[in-house]
């Protein structure tokens, strides 16, 4: 799965630490998601989508 988290975060001028705080996860988690090392669970993906006011599929894309 690929995602546009880093770009969306940059658009809003948010730091990883700020996003992590809003999502109630560690900065390590945000970094892992952004770099594609970790695919978030559905509840976390929904939380991210809600935070950015987007649909999940606008943030996360199937790599295939």
């Amino acid at each position: 799965m690929t995602n546009h988290l880093k770009a969306l975060r940059a658009e809003l001028g948010w730091s990883q630490a700020f996003l992590a705080e809003r999502l109630e996860v560690s900065r390590q988690s945000v970094n892992a998601i952004e770099t594609g090392k970790y695919d978030p669970s559905l509840p976390l993906a929904f939380k991210i989508a809600r935070l950015f006011g987007r649909k999940i599929e606008e943030i996360f894309e199937d790599a295939e």
Binding site: S15, Q16, R27, Q28
Partner: protein, 139 residues
């Protein structure tokens, strides 16, 4: 587990682990002293053998509680990975030594080897994951 600041679950885990390990050390030294110097026999000897392992059960419970309480799924997954690495090492090593013992009559490991191997591989796996997933400067 290696990132700062620590989550509430991680702080609890460290606190519980510290207490449990302290109790474990007291129990091990106490039991060893009782067996070697007080020369306990019979059911007391069995009690001395069992008591330190109770702390180990608590230790495993502490790990389980952490997995239950940690709300950061990525951090939790790292812990699960480390547990799987430790388990794989113990099962692999015990299968190897069991075959060796069955076929050659050799390969018996000293007591507690598996326990030490589990925690060493567990710690190693956590260290490797922390290095792999370290974060640089924030942008």
């Amino acid at each position: 587990m290696g990132c700062v600041p620590k989550s509430k679950a991680e702080k609890q885990y460290m606190k519980r682990m510290l207490v449990t390990m302290s109790v474990y050390l007291v129990l091990v030294f106490g039991a060893t002293w009782a067996v070697r110097h007080a020369h306990v026999k019979g059911w007391l000897l069995v009690v001395c053998a069992v008591v330190p392992s109770l702390a180990i059960f608590r230790l495993l419970q502490v790990v389980g509680l952490y997995l239950k309480e940690e709300t950061d799924e990525f951090v939790r997954q790292q812990m699960v990975n480390a547990i799987l690495w430790g388990t794989a090492a113990v099962l692999g090593l015990s299968a190897f030594t069991d075959f060796l013992r069955s076929y050659t009559g050799t390969g018996e490991l000293p007591p507690f080897t598996m326990f030490v191997v589990f925690w060493m591989v567990f710690a190693l796996a956590q260290g490797i994951q922390s290095l792999r997933n370290r974060v640089g400067g924030d942008d």
